[in-house]
């Protein structure tokens, strides 16, 4: 499924994904709205991250979403990339899945079998694995209204790069990203409990745990 393509096309370029078919949804009309729904903000499948970043509605109803989107790559990437695409792609180091989880939002999936709502805590199954069926399109993400206090903080080697670790705070709820196969909710008083992050060239598991503790402290000091 090709929307913004800012994650899928690199995978194609690297030959890490070799799909037999690609469905480009970019010419589907009426699928790019950002609108007020059920006291929150709904973001449709073709709404670009840059449009969410510039949205007055998002700023008013759910400024945490706006703040998080600004951490996604760079503006030039956000001109194409979509919020729904980030959620469906479910990269463990991605900000937006953690935001959806921290806020307790949901997504709407549609197929020719009908439409269903999948809550954030049931959406993410593993590294780039979601509850979406192969014939389902994530048509909309819904973020509940939320004003303060919030924080979204991450540490990465370079600006706009994948986060080594990151935290999303929404009042007393805390979601972590980059430290488990999926975004996870954590106890702010003991954020690393049960965590077993992986290590790679950029960060050891111990360093990631350290980052979680430091970033959590920062997020709750704000």
């Amino acid at each position: 499924m090709l929307a913004g393509g800012q994650s899928l096309v690199p995978l194609l370029n690297f030959r890490l994904a070799r799909p037999a078919h690609i469905v480009d949804i970019n010419r589907v009309t009426g699928l790019d709205r950002i609108y007020d729904r059920d006291g929150g903000v709904a973001v449709q499948a073709l709404a670009r991250q840059a449009a969410v970043e510039d949205s007055d509605l998002v700023e008013r109803v759910c400024p945490l979403l706006g703040a998080a989107v600004r951490l996604v790559a760079h503006r030039v990437i956000r001109n194409r990339g979509t919020v729904c695409g980030s959620l469906a792609h479910a990269d463990p180091a991605s900000e937006l899945p953690a935001v959806l989880l921290a806020l307790g939002g949901h997504v709407v999936a549609r197929s020719n079998r009908g439409e269903r709502v999948i809550s954030a805590d049931a959406l993410f199954h593993g590294v780039m694995e979601t509850a979406l069926a192969p014939d389902e399109l994530l048509v909309e993400a819904w973020f509940p209204a939320f004003s303060k206090p919030f924080a979204v903080i991450e540490e990465s080697r370079r600006h706009g790069d994948f986060a080594l670790a990151g935290v999303v705070r929404a009042a007393d709820r805390l979601a972590l990203f980059g430290v488990a196969p999926t975004p996870v909710l954590a106890d702010p008083r003991d954020p690393t409990r049960g965590l077993r992050p992986s290590g790679d060239l950029e960060a050891s598991p111990e360093f990631r745990l350290h980052l979680v503790r430091v970033l959590t402290e920062k997020a709750f000091a704000a």
Partner: protein, 151 residues
């Protein structure tokens, strides 16, 4: 698709990246290809006026849209585009490999912020890599480009 104002037929192969289509099929080699996964910014072009990575789009996706490459900013013999002029004046380039991407990104940045703050400039060029200049002269060039554009 329209490229620099001229209408072109779509590429034959739907697998073709927009960056490869511009360079190999249309001969517009001003669009450079560095990393081919969206990190270096060299291949940045304008799609309907907004900067995008041409290596992260299939060429067929540009059908029905307007693409502007570095070649389309100023006609041969015409005065340079203000962003090009500013990079020239401020030595915003050395080897020049990254320059087309920087220029296209900055055109988009000044569209968004006609008088960008130092912070907005840094944020705006953060998606483009330059291995020569150390960025100081590029920052100056962006501010100069804003001046020239507002004149």
């Amino acid at each position: 698709m329209r490229v620099n104002g001229a209408v072109h037929p779509p590429p034959v192969d739907p697998r073709r990246l927009l960056s490869d289509h511009l360079r190999h099929d249309l001969g517009l080699t001003g669009t450079h290809v560095g990393c081919e996964h969206g990190v270096c910014g060299c291949c940045t072009v304008l799609l309907d006026g907004a900067p995008v990575r041409s290596c992260l789009m299939l060429a067929v996706q540009a059908e029905g849209h307007d693409v502007t490459t570095i070649e389309g900013l100023a006609a041969d013999g015409a005065p340079l585009h203000p962003v090009q002029q500013a990079f020239h004046e401020c030595h915003g380039l050395q080897c020049g490999f990254c320059t087309p991407g920087f220029v296209m990104s900055v055109v988009g940045l000044l569209e968004q912020y006609p008088n960008p703050t130092a912070e907005q400039v840094d944020e705006g060029i953060s998606g483009n890599l330059c291995r020569c200049t150390g960025y100081a002269s590029i920052r100056r060039a962006v501010h100069r480009a804003a001046e020239l554009s507002n004149e």
